[in-house]
Amino acid sequence: MLPDPNSLYGPLDPAPDAGYEDAPPRMGFFTDTSVCIGCKACEVACKEWNGVPQSGLDLLGMSYDNTGALTANSWRHVAFVEQPRPADVLGAPVADGAGPQFLGMPGSQPPGRGSGAEDRTDFRWLMMSDVCKHCTHAACLDVCPTGSLFRTEFGTVVVQEDICNGCGYCISACPYGVIDQRKDDGRAWKCTLCYDRLGAGQTPACAQACPTESIQYGPLEELRERAAARVATLHERGVPEARLYGHDPNDGVGGDGAFFLLLDEPEVYGLPPDPVVTTRDLPKMWKRAGLAALAMAAATVAAFVGGSS
């Protein structure tokens, strides 16, 4: 029934598995957060190109992050983490990931300018542009009952808005909390990795707009090599906490089509530390349901034939 033994879990090239013959190489994003400057050009470019409605003005008090999370109306989200980090140990790994700290930003001045040097704190600012991971094993796609979500020839995952009936299953299934329902519309929306631009041989809007090349777009194989080299460089330069996230085809979702270079544990950025595609366990689930169904039938038979009253 299932063509590839790995079609639910494990390393896999998704486009051929989805039935494409002569699929082009798998395309993806490598987001290098170590060069992100938090300009949010990606958020804006995405909204512009894809015609994503505005999400309203909201001040969240989360550093410069007033987007909050990936939602139906924000397909790129720049996270800002303000983190105290002693300079004398800069270079040594943070003690198992100090959490986000609030440092009074935004304020009218940089921290410590008005109060003098003695009140200054030392902190680092982590910024990360988050996006749909275009998982190798995409739970959203697996569970979609209408076939609205589909795998493109580039190995990405896209919602067809004319098919989606807003059942909401994908939203509970995504282990990253990416895909979301648009309230006034009822359907599910998320990053398409600019499927329309890809088809025309163009770069996705966010990667095109990123001024620091924090967002890099290209064939996934190539990006993985580039990322490994970048991590090695950073380690050499004394940033041992640099690590990749979502690059490994052996992880719980078979590797992400959009992966990241992070400077702290994933959960600091609001990413799950060890996501697993829920459909990994689906065969076991059906088996349990089958057993339960049998038990039910047997109990009914027993109830009617056993006893006489």
């Binding site: 002693p86 509970s172 600091v268």
Partner: protein, 388 residues
């Protein structure tokens, strides 16, 4: 980096020390979980230097001179998150999906009851079962369509049949079950049709058509009652997913108990014997399953024990037990039977809502996402060596 500046990270250290001095008032994560849970718990509860979520509403900015008096509350859990925001999107399913879990199970249980009554010559059970099944499956359809973001597109479900999508499978199960249950219920009207004339033929044919339809519905019923367990489990919602071995058991038991409830309500005590036995079997499955999800999952059992889901599940247990007790002890009294039946129906509904909202609660709190996954990563780092 002026040499005059105070030691770097001082404010953070002060903050950390203060937390350590005040101690953590965090409700300790349950330790009776699996062995993995207990081992790694130590790892995750050091003196809280891994700061937990920042309070959602932080009072005051730290920019001014607060003299180190940070307004940060003691963390509630030792894990890191992004401003305490949930990682997962909570299910967008509303209460009507919980209600559907109940009506779908009720339909399945009633069809089984009806088929049993039909095959063993207990017309009261047959009639009540068939009529309830049709009513419940109709209500199910309404709940399901109503919950869609685009109700007018409900038929898009019929474009595909996908074994990887429990919702797709469920749609097809319902498509097979619904009409059969409908025909079986309509056949109950045969007795009211005239024996002669144009309707006479229909009237004479209906019982056997109803017989076949009733058996068909009963054949699909166990699938209808148990696929919903997979429906919930096949999500990233932590407390649903990890409960995948138990959810179908609970739902099967709950469906049997509700079907039995219908029988106890509708049938005279002389015919209600099978319903009583069904009630016992259903209650046993339901109680066993809920007990397992409340205790086996370590931290992920917590959402089923506290708050509204906890209250719902406790109420469900109480109702189940009293329903079964009533059914067994009051076997001669029609009134006690009816009361027990009502209790069983209520128990089934309440249990479904408890399971549903327990899962929702687990998706809303990043703790239930981060802590188990972090434990996994740490275990792999220390044990496997290969590093996540």
């Amino acid at each position: 980096m002026s040499p005059a500046r105070p030691p770097v990270g001082d404010r953070f250290r002060r903050f950390r020390d203060r937390l350590a001095a005040e101690g953590s008032d965090r409700p300790e994560a349950p330790r009776q979980g699996g062995p993995a849970g207990t081992d790694d718990q130590a790892d995750l509860t050091p003196p809280p230097q891994r700061t937990a979520e920042l309070p959602g509403r932080r009072t005051g900015r730290r920019g001014g001179r607060r003299g180190g008096g940070e307004e940060l509350r003691v963390p509630e859990a030792t894990f890191t998150s992004y401003y305490g925001r949930p990682i997962l999107k909570a299910p967008v399913w509303k209460w009507d999906i919980a209600a559907y879990l109940f009506t779908g199970g009720l339909a399945a249980g009633s069809s089984l009851l009806a088929a049993g009554g039909q095959l063993t010559g207990r017309p009261a059970l047959r009639r009540a079962g068939r009529v309830t099944a049709l009513a419940a499956v109709s209500a199910s359809a309404v709940f399901l369509v109503k919950d869609l973001g685009r109700p007018a597109r409900f038929h898009h479900m019929l474009r595909v049949a996908k074994p990887t999508s429990p919702m797709s499978m469920g749609t097809w199960i319902l498509t097979a079950y619904g009409p059969a249950a409908g025909v079986a219920a309509i056949a109950e009207a045969a007795g009211r049709l005239p024996r002669h004339g144009r309707f006479g033929l229909v009237g004479r044919a209906l019982p056997s058509v109803g017989h076949a339809a009733g058996l068909l519905a009963a054949g699909a019923a166990p699938a209808l009652a148990t696929y919903t367990g997979v429906l919930l489990a096949d999500t990233a919602v932590p407390s649903w997913h990890e409960a995948y071995p138990e959810l179908p058991v609970i739902f099967a038991g709950s469906a049997l108990a509700s079907g039995a409830g219908v029988g106890l309500l509708a049938a005279p005590p002389a015919q209600a014997g099978p319903a009583r036995r069904m009630a016992v079997a259903g209650a046993a499955l339901e109680l066993y399953g809920t007990h397992r999800v409340e205790t086996r999952l370590g931290l992920l059992s917590e959402p089923y024990r506290v708050g509204r889901p906890g209250r719902l599940l406790r109420a469900g247990r109480l109702l189940t037990v009293s329903g079964v007790a009533g059914a067994l002890l009051g076997r001669r009294s029609r009134l006690v039977g009816a009361l027990s039946g009502t209790a069983l129906l209520a128990a089934s509904a309440v249990t479904r809502f408890g399971i549903f909202y327990g899962g929702v609660a687990s998706a809303r709190d990043p703790r239930y996402t981060v802590v188990p996954q972090r434990e996994r990563v740490n275990a792999r780092r220390t044990g496997g060596g290969s590093g996540g």
